[in-house]
């Protein structure tokens, strides 16, 4: 089919482009970051603002649970090649919005497109095949499977996944070898290569997060959606996880992530979308957003003049000292 050819060509172009600037830095500066920051420099800081080159466009997304309107996003765009953070207080609808975008839940109203393809009504697995993969807030490592099998599962278009072909190893063995080679490469990058033959259930929480991210990358996605990638990760691993997320941008991928830790948001994101009560209430680069009065009211509350990491809970912990 001609459509497939065009898509394949486009894929090849993207891969080439990725290879070009993967890991390249100019005077120690990350090129992917610079590209994203420059592209977003002239974008006004207001909710629902159009971006110069959006990979994901959402329009009028409404999700109701009975009488409760969990998500009501009038318009949102995600800039291609950027790291965009989705923040907001608990119950703001971030994860629900995530589920809607990735096909794990269907909205009552609205439409959205990814790479120009309408996603309304598309099943979650089809969304993933189009190049938008996600991770979960509660990590979904496949416990009773080996780390390497977890990884191999992520690869796309496997011949051996068809029932009749599965019975004849000759059909899929070669492809399996190349999948394992790719998986080994990613495991080495994520420093999980020593765990290759271990059950995923024996990994620590942070290692599971790494495994989940590495597994998602097996499908060569265009966009990675991370739902609270830092939740439950010990501080020693946080830096390495941050490095991996920034690395995705350097390889030309787009990242959208939900996060509560403001230091993390500030240190890696190019753009921040703030949700409150299901709506997008503010947008902009991290520093601008964090000084936006609407955000401070909705999200940061009375402690906005303190360091941003000192939320109410941590303050109350430190007071007695």
């Amino acid at each position: 089919m001609p459509d497939d050819d065009a898509a394949a060509l486009e894929q090849a172009d993207i891969a080439e482009e990725r290879a070009q600037f993967a890991h390249t830095t100019i005077a120690g500066e990350l090129l992917g970051r610079r590209k994203a920051v420059e592209a977003l420099a002239d974008v006004p800081h207001e909710p629902g603002v159009p971006k110069p080159d959006p990979i994901l466009v959402a329009d009028g997304i409404v999700r109701r649970f009975g009488g409760l309107v969990a998500v009501d996003v009038a318009h949102a765009e995600i800039q291609r090649g950027s790291i965009t953070a989705l923040v907001g207080p608990n119950g703001a609808g971030k994860t629900t919005f995530f589920n809607l975008l990735t096909g794990f839940d269907q909205p009552n109203e609205g439409k959205w497109s990814f790479n120009g393809i309408e996603l309304k009504g598309k099943a979650a697995y089809k969304v993933a095949r189009l190049g938008m993969v996600r991770t979960f807030q509660l990590t979904k490592a496949l416990s009773r499977m080996k780390v390497i099998d977890n990884m191999a599962l992520g690869a796309k278009d496997q011949k051996g996944e068809h029932f009749w072909a599965a019975v004849i190893p000759g059909i899929w063995r070669r492809q399996e070898q190349s999948i394992e080679a790719k998986a080994d490469g990613l495991l080495a990058r994520f420093k999980l290569d020593t765990k290759r033959e271990d059950f995923a259930g024996s990994l620590s929480g942070g290692q599971r997060k790494l495994l989940e991210m590495a597994r998602a990358l097996m499908s060569d996605p265009d966009m990675v959606m991370l739902d609270e990638p830092m939740a439950g990760v010990n501080p020693a691993l946080t830096q390495s996880l941050l490095g991996h997320i920034m690395d995705l941008r350097e390889q030309g991928m787009t990242v959208l992530f939900v996060e509560h830790d403001m230091d993390v948001v500030r240190s890696i994101s190019d753009w921040v979308i703030v949700m409150g009560q299901g709506k997008v209430i503010a947008e902009g680069p991290p520093d601008a957003v964090m000084s936006n009065p609407a955000v401070i009211d909705a999200y940061l509350g009375a402690h906005h003049d303190k360091a941003l990491t000192d939320t109410g809970e941590s303050l109350s912990f430190t007071e007695p000292e």
């Binding site: 979650a124 099998d149 496997q158 029932f163 259930g201």
Partner: protein, 327 residues
Amino acid sequence: MDWGNILGQSITQGLGVLAVIYALAAIGLNVHFGYTGLLNFGQAGFLAVAAYGLAVTIVVLELPLFVGVVIGLLAAVALALLLGIPTLRLRADYLAIVTIAAAEIIRLLVRSVTLRDIFGGSDGINAFANEFFSYSPFSAGLELGPVRLSQNDLWVVVVGWTLVALSCLLVWLLMRSPWGRVIKAIREDEDAVRSLGKNVYFYKMQALIIGGVLGSLGGFIFAVGFQSVQPDSYATDLTFFAYAVLILGGAGRVMGPVLGAVVFWFLLVFIDGTLAQLVQNGTITFIRTDQVGQVRYWILGLSLMLLMIYRPQGILGDKKELALDAR
């Protein structure tokens, strides 16, 4: 105590027709429950549609055996589709409810007076396996030490264990392939599999069909082995014994259901024979001979409980694997 006789009977049953039937039923359940995580509580239904498909084709439609096998297999596939289409999109427990009900519906349907002309009511259909036995190469029975098999049983058992071997080969080939990897991943967490671009519903349907078809082979052996199909042979206890066999042997292991079936029937007959003799020679006085049949199930049930406590992974399972945090 005639230990030779007890052991001989136990070994004969452990390798006999019933062990074959339960091995095949449990191999099917292993694909459903052990590998895919589907809670099918209606495996008896798959055996029933296959057995009745075969018997009705031969007796009512007067067609050859081979057509009956094809019709039985198609019936099993149709049953899997019928059960799967509405329930596989829902949470796992719904499949359990629907399958147990469907198996009972099938049993009551073939038992009904209205359909007596086709299915034979509560008497079932009898004496239709002549063609099957006409293919037998054996001219005499087998007497090998304490093991005794009649000429007909020998043929059933040989065909049966061949089917078991082929089924195990199929399961082994499937589960080491990327297809099997997707199946096992669905058991672990189907949303994770969905997020990696796999059509989970489609895979679960395939697994339901394969497991049902493997179980239906047990239905064929049941039908020809006893030369009779009777509705009450396909009650829920068939399914639950098949689960016991599977868990005893080790779920999620290729040879688990086979070993489980052999051990299960060996033990059942061994306990039965031992108890009967102990009652007869007056060692046990508090039960009568006609109560032995019930008491052996108590002892078997107790042994299964102890197994679950001290070796929950079954005979072939890996305890470390089971102990892993399933989240």
